[in-house]
């Protein structure tokens, strides 16, 4: 298999397999999780300002009081790489073109040099949070294989995409194919790892906010 055949495979059969597993996994888990439901709370609801599912969704996007000082690396690094990922994934013109082709939706992109800068910042932030996880004994103790695996799955597409654009290590064609392959690996594993928080984070915040809101507690 030469590099062009490799690229055509990841753009064709590989993408088909990966997207299918992704869609299958996402729908399966969403149905499974949201159908679990909760027992109806028969107590009389207490009302308090700022206590609702929607409030919690927004509130938990910002660091809790005092947390920025206690865990600056997690919060700044974590926020930086999440925003960076969103920019790189959704605002790079070739990516938008793929999304348009798959869903019909499209929006304007950003200049490629800016995306390049964001990719570097994203990778730096990801490395910092990884080092922090390794250095802090508690974090290291709490980390399982799933955490290391999820980090790797997320980091590789950014790294290979950036290397392809920068023409590093391998010819562009091969690196582009590897980049697409790493994205496909991410798609395959996303529904079955902690990365599924991309689909459940806001839902679970809503749940928590709603339960606490019923009790009149704004958290």
């Amino acid at each position: 298999m030469n590099d062009m055949q490799f690229l055509t495979w990841v753009r064709g059969t590989g993408l088909d397999i990966a997207l299918s597993i992704f869609v299958l996994g996402v729908l399966w888990r969403l149905f499974e999780i949201y159908s679990l439901g909760r027992k109806p709370d028969l107590t009389a609801p207490r009302h308090a300002a700022g206590a609702s599912g929607l409030h919690t969704i927004f509130r938990r996007t910002l660091p809790a009081e005092g947390m920025l000082k206690r865990a600056p690396v997690s919060i700044i690094g974590g926020t930086a790489f999440h925003i960076g990922l969103a920019i790189v994934v959704f605002l790079f013109a070739p990516h938008i073109l793929l999304i348009k082709n798959l869903t019909g939706l499209s929006w304007p992109g950003l200049p490629s040099q800016f995306i390049d800068l964001v990719a570097v910042v994203t990778m730096a932030a990801m490395v910092v949070v990884l080092v922090d996880r390794i250095n802090k004994p508690v974090k290291r103790y709490l980390s399982t294989f799933g955490d290391w695996f999820a980090w790797t799955l997320t980091f590789l597409p950014v790294l290979t995409g950036w290397m392809a654009v920068q023409h590093l290590l391998l010819p562009y064609t091969t690196m582009l194919a590897i980049h697409i392959l790493t994205v496909e690996l991410l798609l395959v594993f996303l529904p079955f790892t902690k990365l599924f928080h991309a689909f459940t984070a806001f839902g679970s915040r809503w749940y928590i906010g709603k339960i606490n809101g019923h009790k009149g507690v704004a958290v």
Partner: protein
């Protein structure tokens, strides 16, 4: 500097100075040191009598003659033709006056007289299906001819994408079983000059290198001369700034197309195509595909014909997604089935629940 070539050129109105400039350009294009231009000029100019010029045999197999057309278009009235004055093109079916048995005699005479020294140029792929019966010349299959002529060659130039990588004849489903020269010949130095057709100056540059240094120039992993195939079309494209700014033509006749914006979204394969079109251009530097408003097809890359379609952007799926909708249904069904199973478990636990009373505890 004197020699038969210089005299011939003088008669055609080409000055020695123009000739030297051409050689210097060729050398710089191939990223050779400045002295190489002079060495090339000397090697070509000093080619003595016509009978002793290096022999070149050109074999056409499963091809469309586009490669020959490309070379001959550049021949007149430009200086590309100089190179051909320095060689003895002993067999080229399209260009030679001889035909039939005479042509075959010329081929065998050249092979015999220049055993081990001649340069073999091949254009077209070689069919292996039906024992090679898909393409025969003088009653012999291309496979047999190639093996026979390659035996005495000093080096082989696989001219065009068909000879280099199989090209269009090898495109899926490859009915003739077409293969490239390097799939068959393993014991000779082979240089690939892919393109559909290849750029004339690449061809003449490689010939000039062979004439001057007696060897083939430095090659990349796909057997192409690095000097011409070292960078992608995209990296050398004059429309590249528009790509970086995110300005794309969406159709062939929209405002973006008229403004000369990037053709990536219209399927341009420039980012994955290594060739010199963007710098050398075509027809004596007049224009090239992207300049004329059409994306690069990627014709100098292996299997360009089967790389997902010419009008699909590189970041789009190469084939239609076949399994995704089935997967969506299967995923939803699996989710619903598991929810029912979970609910079943829940209600089973509920019904199996036994209430413990104080009396039970006091037992």
């Amino acid at each position: 500097m004197h020699g038969p070539l210089i005299d011939t050129l003088a008669r055609q109105g080409v000055t020695r100075r123009t000739f030297m400039k051409y050689c210097a350009t060729l050398a710089s294009m191939m990223a050779l040191p400045p002295a190489a231009g002079r060495a090339m000029a000397e090697a070509m100019a000093s080619a003595p009598a016509a009978t002793r010029r290096p022999s070149v045999i050109w074999l056409p197999f499963q091809e469309c003659t586009g490669c020959t057309e490309s070379i001959t278009r550049s021949h007149s009235p430009t200086l590309e033709g100089l190179i051909f004055d320095a060689i003895s093109l002993d067999y080229q079916e399209t260009l030679m006056a001889a035909a039939g048995h005479q042509a075959e005699e010329a081929l065998h005479a050249a092979m015999k007289a220049n055993e081990g020294k001649y340069l073999l140029i091949v254009d077209g792929s070689i069919p292996l299906g039906l024992d090679g019966a898909y393409s025969c010349i003088a009653g012999k299959s291309n496979l047999d001819t190639l093996k026979e002529v390659a035996k005495g060659a000093a080096a082989i130039v696989a001219m065009g994408s068909c000879a280099a990588y199989g090209g269009i004849p090898k495109a899926n489903p490859n009915p003739t079983g077409a293969v490239s020269v390097s799939d068959i010949i393993k014991d000779k130095p082979i240089i690939n000059i892919p393109g559909c057709p290849p750029i004339p100056v690449v061809m003449t540059g490689v010939l000039a290198h062979f004439l001057t240094f007696g060897s083939l120039p430095e090659m990349d992993s796909k057997g192409r001369p690095k000097a011409f195939y070292g960078e992608t079309i995209h990296d050398r494209c004059y429309r590249r700034p528009f790509y970086d700014q995110g300005k794309f033509a969406k159709t062939f006749d929209d405002e973006g197309a008229r403004n000369g914006w990037c053709l990536f979204e219209l399927g341009c394969k420039g980012p994955v195509t290594y060739n010199a079109c963007a710098t050398v251009k075509w027809n004596g530097g007049t224009s090239w595909p992207v300049e004329s408003g059409h994306g690069c097809l990627g014709c100098s890359e292996p299997d360009f014909w089967d790389a997902g379609g010419f009008y699909k952007a590189l970041s789009m799926p190469a084939d239609p997604l076949k399994m995704a909708s089935t997967a969506a249904i299967a995923g939803a069904a699996a989710g619903v089935a598991i929810s029912f199973a979970n609910r079943g478990k829940k209600s089973a636990a509920k019904s199996a629940h036994e209430t413990t009373t104080l009396a039970d505890l006091e037992k």
